[in-house]
């Protein structure tokens, strides 16, 4: 890990410790817990997009598989939540290998297409296999997870738990980037030919990162299931996968902190929009939640036009420019 990333991680941990001391409202803690799930998925997705140069439009489906593996194994087979999470990770790794191995051998963005198809299939399966998934009405009574025999019952406990997992996810990602394998990844993103000429097995690297990024999503899905204790296919449509990619792109895919920032901003955005709704109504505009998708689209478009490296990079540049102005 590099010094700046370590400092960022420590700052994040301090913020996480402090937030529940300020925000006592369970609703807002809940929003921040969902934010943590998205952050986790987006850290993994960033490794794939920013470092292996591939796009997955199926990460929402990996979240779904993680969630359903946890939901099904705990409720129908009575497995412990941790064992079910482990099983979900294994299942997702195998599925990611099945999707990734044939497509990542090819040059170009076949992975994006394959994962898009895969995401729709998983969503359809979640709706159709009623005996297994409960179909449209979903699975009820998913247990809460315990740590050392202590069940996480309050939102505050779950808040700490999910953000601790995000911190671990960041730590693992930074370790990876600054390692032999991570260098191989960054190298192939710079020039696949040059990387191959130095002995980097490009296909193997891409497949490994794809699987790792899917595992991030599986863990995120599993933690979601244990938090809401109820899952149905609703949140796992293809749009969710697109939203995850948008988060990474908006924040900046070439930097883990960028993806992290994007996930935080776009997870909190619906809250701002719903509070903005009241003001808009006063102004005579009837804002509907259906318009959210337009707002997301507009944000993505503006970012791509004016901050192609993402919000995080843009902020960094603004801060540096500001410092220069002050020095003058």
């Amino acid at each position: 890990m590099q010094g700046r990333d370590t400092a960022g991680l420590i700052a994040l941990i301090l913020a996480v410790v402090a937030i529940p001391l300020v925000i006592r409202n369970d609703y807002y803690l809940g929003v921040l817990i969902f934010t943590a799930f998205n952050c986790l998925t987006c850290i993994g997705l960033c490794l794939l997009m920013g470092y292996a140069g591939q796009i997955s439009l199926g990460h929402g489906a990996f979240v779904a598989i993680g969630a359903y593996a946890s939901g099904i194994l705990t409720t129908t087979l009575g497995w412990s939540p941790w064992a079910a999470m482990g099983a979900g990770i294994i299942i997702v790794s195998v599925v990611a290998a099945i999707v990734g191995v044939p497509t990542l051998r090819l040059k170009g963005h076949y992975l994006a297409m394959a994962t898009l198809g895969f995401a729709s299939i998983i969503h359809i399966l979640a709706v159709a296999t009623v005996d297994l998934t409960g179909g449209p009405s979903g699975l009820l009574n998913i247990p809460r997870i315990s740590i050392f025999g202590h069940q996480l019952n309050s939102d505050m406990q779950y808040f700490y738990f999910s953000w601790a997992v995000v911190a671990i996810g960041l730590y693992v990602a930074f370790n990876l980037i600054n390692s032999r394998v991570g260098r191989g990844l960054r190298a192939l993103h710079g020039s696949e030919e040059a990387a191959a000429s130095l002995g980097v097995n490009i296909t193997a690297h891409k497949i490994q990162v794809f699987i790792l990024s899917a595992v991030y999503a599986a863990i995120s899905g599993s933690m979601y299931a244990y938090y809401v204790n109820y899952i149905d296919p609703g949140p796992f449509g293809v749009m969710h996968s697109v939203l995850l990619v948008t988060m990474v792109a908006v924040g900046g895919m070439h930097n883990i902190w960028g993806a992290f920032t994007g996930a935080v901003l776009l997870s909190l955005l619906p809250e701002f929009l719903s509070s903005a709704t009241d003001y808009l109504q006063l102004m005579g505009i009837a804002y509907q939640p259906d318009y959210d998708i337009l707002v997301y689209g507009a944000i993505l478009l503006l970012i791509m036009l004016f901050l192609p490296e993402g919000v995080f990079d843009g902020l960094g540049k603004a801060v540096r420019a500001g410092r220069r102005m002050i020095r003058r």
Partner: protein, 258 residues
């Protein structure tokens, strides 16, 4: 020359052909390269020189023929596999990892000489660091070899062009090859830089590394080569010491456009 022959061949091309659609880029090339030698490949633009490099290093499959390296047939092997057998290359026009530091570029060259996998890379940092430190030190040594040590922390893409060339060679050397293919290493260099490049190639030969060089700078070619191969339209039209090739009427004709 006699001495080099006794050392044996490191690379043999037998009847190599490469056809792109209708274009015959390499047309039945047969040639062997002696271990420890510096062999230059010259020829007009579009003669097929880079294509030969791409065939040897597995970036393109040959349409016909056989490529043998130290007794192994290379046809159909992937580039990363061929690199692992000890063949390094540089690219016409330089291909660095521009966002990475100079040192990191060379550290990628140590990929084959280290083995930390994705699991230990992400989860076990202390175990990793030992190997990381070793990789870093070895990469610094290779930077020193080409005279770029002081630029280690610079961003590779920001180096002046001449230094980028040197860096690309340091990175290729870091895989500890037995054979290195240099595609126009002096193109775009000024005359002082070209002299330094010639000295570097001499230094590489002293490391017992066989060098094959594609180069348009005739002074450099004639200066450092044991043997010069001339190709035109994918065919060998001249082969010998720099002196004999220089006086070959076929070669002169090819360069003057017949």
């Amino acid at each position: 020359m006699m001495q080099a022959k006794r050392a044996g061949h490191i690379l043999s091309l037998e009847n190599i052909r490469k056809v792109f659609g209708g274009v015959v880029a390499v047309d039945g090339l047969t040639v062997s390269v002696e271990k420890g030698s510096v062999t230059s490949v010259i020829g007009p633009n579009g003669a097929g020189k880079t294509t030969v490099f791409n065939l040897i290093t597995g970036f393109l499959p040959p349409s016909a023929g056989r490529i043998t390296y130290s007794g192994r047939v290379l046809n159909r092997l992937k580039p990363h596999h061929i690199a692992s057998l000890g063949i390094a290359r540089t690219f016409q026009g330089v291909r660095l990892f521009p966002q990475m530091s100079v040192l990191e570029n060379v550290m990628v060259g140590r990929h084959l000489r280290s083995k930390t996998g994705i699991f230990s890379s992400s989860c076990l940092p202390p175990v990793l660091r030992q190997e990381e430190n070793r990789i870093r030190q070895e990469a610094i040594d290779w930077l020193d070899f080409v005279g770029l040590k002081e630029y280690a922390e610079a961003v590779a893409g920001n180096l002046p062009f001449g230094n980028q060339r040197m860096l690309e060679i340091a990175r290729a050397l870091a895989i500890e090859p037995h054979l290195i293919l240099l595609d126009e290493p002096a193109a775009g260099l000024n005359s002082r830089e070209t002299i330094v490049m010639g000295e570097l190639i001499e230094k590489i030969r002293q490391e017992q590394i066989t060098v094959i060089l594609v180069e348009h700078d005739m002074e450099l070619v004639m200066d450092i080569s044991d043997r010069v191969l001339v190709i035109n339209f994918g065919r060998l039209i001249g082969d010998g010491t720099p002196e004999t090739v220089q006086d070959d009427p076929d070669v002169i004709a090819a360069y003057l456009g017949e």
